[in-house]
Symmetry: C2
């Protein structure tokens, strides 16, 4: 049997971001009874109330009774290939308008296999030259770094504080890049309770960032995953809701507000594409006589009977222009062809059951996460505070799933192994979230998947571990 030399595989496979996932899986497998502050997964209780079968029927009913589809044809949509851009764009557009004040046409949205595919699409479309760089808020969300590595997109980390990305550092990164013959093409960040940083941007900070993006001519890739965990009295508009000149690509997921296994996310990309080369935006491109063909392993994107087979239909924005979302859908046809219609139907039915809005289920879920976060912070105070051991500190985010704890010693895998084996508590080392060498004295605690009693016990174990092993 021929063996493959790892050195001949793509560089991304040698990246710590990819290489270390296996180890964490392996540790968790070896200590199944440990209390784990590692997974950032949604709380399992929410899944008990779900009824996918009912949601799917609800969506089909909507297609027939509201959108006027033939019942048999509507049901077939669940079994056939669908349009790359998605089947439920109108329902998602309406929810974005109601819940977040993001007012875009369905054509500006692509339904994706989770937020992860949305990031990959955005990077692939926007990064056309090796001189272009992606700025990422640091500590970084590993999904965006992984997507960039996969596409050989250069990444520049930009410091993030509890108040969000540092605008001076971002400006400086843009200028340094220009001086070196590069360009910061886009910046990825989460304005609300970033994973893992936990910071949040004020309204003024958001407006300043949009101005900076305009001045420095960069695009913002906004990740809205944790925005819903804000207290109802403390909601802030997303960057996209404030975006008047199209600087923002907005990525969301239904993983936390509906359920993760649907694998349904979306990207809002309403930027018009201005054809300097007219053949590009021509609806009937004829470059060297080549055209008209399959998208995917299948088959053909242009299925008979699809929802997007409407003349002059979904490709165009409010003003009839071709939008970036159309380009993203074309790329998607070469990645996953289309997002599973059954999953889309489940999410759409869930939205319809809640009046076409995520507000009510999101608020219900957010209350649990805020309770858990409060429990976690209180347990840290109780077991590690008054006074905390020398060199032990933690941040106090007001939302999201994560708290970071700083220790006076390097936090590495050997330490994790001790914590798991002797104290029965798991967490995530923070070093992999930093591209420039920071974070090696930090660990991340996630409270999303646990109950208050587990949080209490887990923090007690963590405190014992810190006092006994680290000797503070």
């Amino acid at each position: 049997m021929v063996a493959l030399d790892p050195a001949a595989l793509h560089d991304s496979l040698r990246d710590p971001v990819l290489g270390s996932i296996g180890f964490l899986n392996e540790v968790m497998g070896r200590y199944p009874d440990a209390i784990s502050f590692a997974p950032g997964a949604p709380h399992p209780d929410f899944h008990d109330e779900l009824d996918v079968h009912r949601y799917v029927e609800r969506f089909l009913d909507h297609l027939v009774r509201v959108e006027g589809h033939d019942p048999e044809r509507a049901r077939r949509l669940l079994y056939e290939y669908g349009p790359a851009r998605g089947l439920i764009n109108g329902i998602v557009a309406e929810a974005l308008r109601r819940d977040q004040g993001i007012d875009v046409p369905p054509a500006a949205i692509v339904i994706t296999v989770g937020a992860q595919e949305a990031m990959l699409l955005a990077l692939r479309a926007l990064f056309g030259s090796s001189r272009d760089l992606l700025a990422v808020a640091s500590p970084c969300f590993v999904g965006i770094v992984g997507a960039a590595r996969l596409l050989d997109v250069g990444v520049v980390p930009v410091r993030e504080t509890e108040h969000g990305i540092d605008l001076e550092a971002l400006t400086e990164a843009c200028r340094t890049a220009r001086r070196d013959g590069h360009r910061v093409r886009a910046c990825h960040l989460a304005p609300d309770f970033a994973n893992p940083g936990g910071g949040r941007m004020s309204l003024d900070h958001r407006r300043d960032l949009l101005r900076l993006a305009q001045q420095e001519e960069l695009l913002l890739i906004e990740d809205n995953t944790y925005g819903f965990t804000a207290a109802p009295t403390d909601e802030l508009p997303s960057l996209k809701a404030l975006d008047i000149d199209g600087r923002v690509l907005h990525i969301g997921t239904f993983a936390k507000t509906c359920f993760p296994a649907a694998r349904v996310g979306y990207i809002v990309a309403d930027q018009p594409i201005t054809a300097e080369n007219p053949s590009h935006s021509d609806p009937a491109p004829k470059r060297s006589g080549r055209t008209g063909l399959d998208a995917g392993p299948t088959g053909l994107d242009a299925r008979p009977g699809g929802l997007d087979a409407r003349p002059g239909g979904l490709d165009a924005g409010h003003g009839g222009e071709r939008l970036l979302a159309t380009e993203l859908a074309a790329l998607k046809s070469m990645i996953t062809v289309n997002t599973a219609p059954l999953s889309q139907a489940a999410v759409a039915g869930f939205l319809l059951e809640h009046g076409g809005s995520l507000a009510e289920p999101s608020h219900r879920r957010a209350a649990i996460y805020r309770r858990n976060l409060a429990c976690l912070l209180a347990a840290l105070d109780r077991h590690l505070g008054e006074p905390p051991p020398a060199g032990v500190t933690w941040n106090r985010p007001e939302g999201g799933f994560f708290v970071r704890v700083r220790l006076p010693v390097p936090v590495d895998l050997d330490l994790l192994e001790v914590s798991a084996a002797k104290y029965g508590v798991l967490w995530t080392p923070m070093a992999p979230f930093y591209l420039d060498g920071g974070g090696d004295h930090q660990l991340r605690l996630s409270c999303s998947y646990l109950d208050p009693e587990q949080i209490e016990t887990g923090v007690r174990r963590l405190a014992d571990f810190i006092r006994e092993e680290i000797g503070v």
Copy 2:
């Protein structure tokens, strides 16, 4: 509103493969009543017998009664994140062993979002250097070309005849590449009834190809999408079933044999990774102290309660080595995180309902496709043969979904427009399937989505179109 310059977007968006999908959608939208030989989608009748709800329950029952899972935990698998490699690898491995004589451990398989994601994973893992080239059977399957463009992988077309890929041309391509300082790292092909070529390789030809791959040190990426359409008396082993030294990556899809909207495919990648750099295959990599973190927008791949959270579990092959599939799963965590568990459950339940095998449903479907293909060829003979107009010929594949017709004039979009508008019949121009300028006098007819009466009417219209418009 700021507009984006298409010239600054990634090159793949200027590729005819991507650019032309929109046009075909648009034409089909404008002529909804035309008979369309364009879509290669599975016949809709098969979907009427499907019952996803029942299949999902069947899979859950299997998890509980056969695999010994707790019922509540089993149901939660449908709602939570799952392992990147998949949830149903064991069931798929068993079906591959029974149906195709492909004997690999579950750890050698990654469940993907259709065959398209499998191609993207294979290319991303294998192509680590810009000197590496991908050979593709020509006429080419557009999905593989699209994936290569997305990843900036260089592509070399290699002539395919009715007997499959031309081995002399492939050998020559390898030698030319070497002479130019390149290397043909892998070759993508479908040994059975390729889309769109329709060719089929004999058993001897398959063995010769495997020998060639060994001699020239290249990997084969085998697409098995249409193998099931062979007559039951005429089935040939796949390349993977004949592969003794690990030269073959085998890609399959449940789109045609189960249903397309599941978006479930798989890749078999049982090649061991030999660590020349020992830290790479170390189960606990510690490069610069960075490790242990999220995979995906979520969260963490290492969820509590997952099916892969077994010590020493799914990462290893028969002999305990790390396999290429493990690397592909790591990459997948940065593309789609995991394949929707509901979709996987539906496919697994479908398999279990058919005794853990696709043989019976595949044979039933194949019979319909062979009937349609026979109808299409008979109608072409009847309406265009005896004698055919000068310069009009077509191939006679013995399986698959597609027939190619050669005309004595260039086949372009203007001609398609005339065919649609005046004659009410649609087809696909072949030129985009050729990377080196061939095919501009050919069109492709697909018979998979139509019924015999539509095929008869469609071919009559096509014959009128050819005789009247082309003047032969």
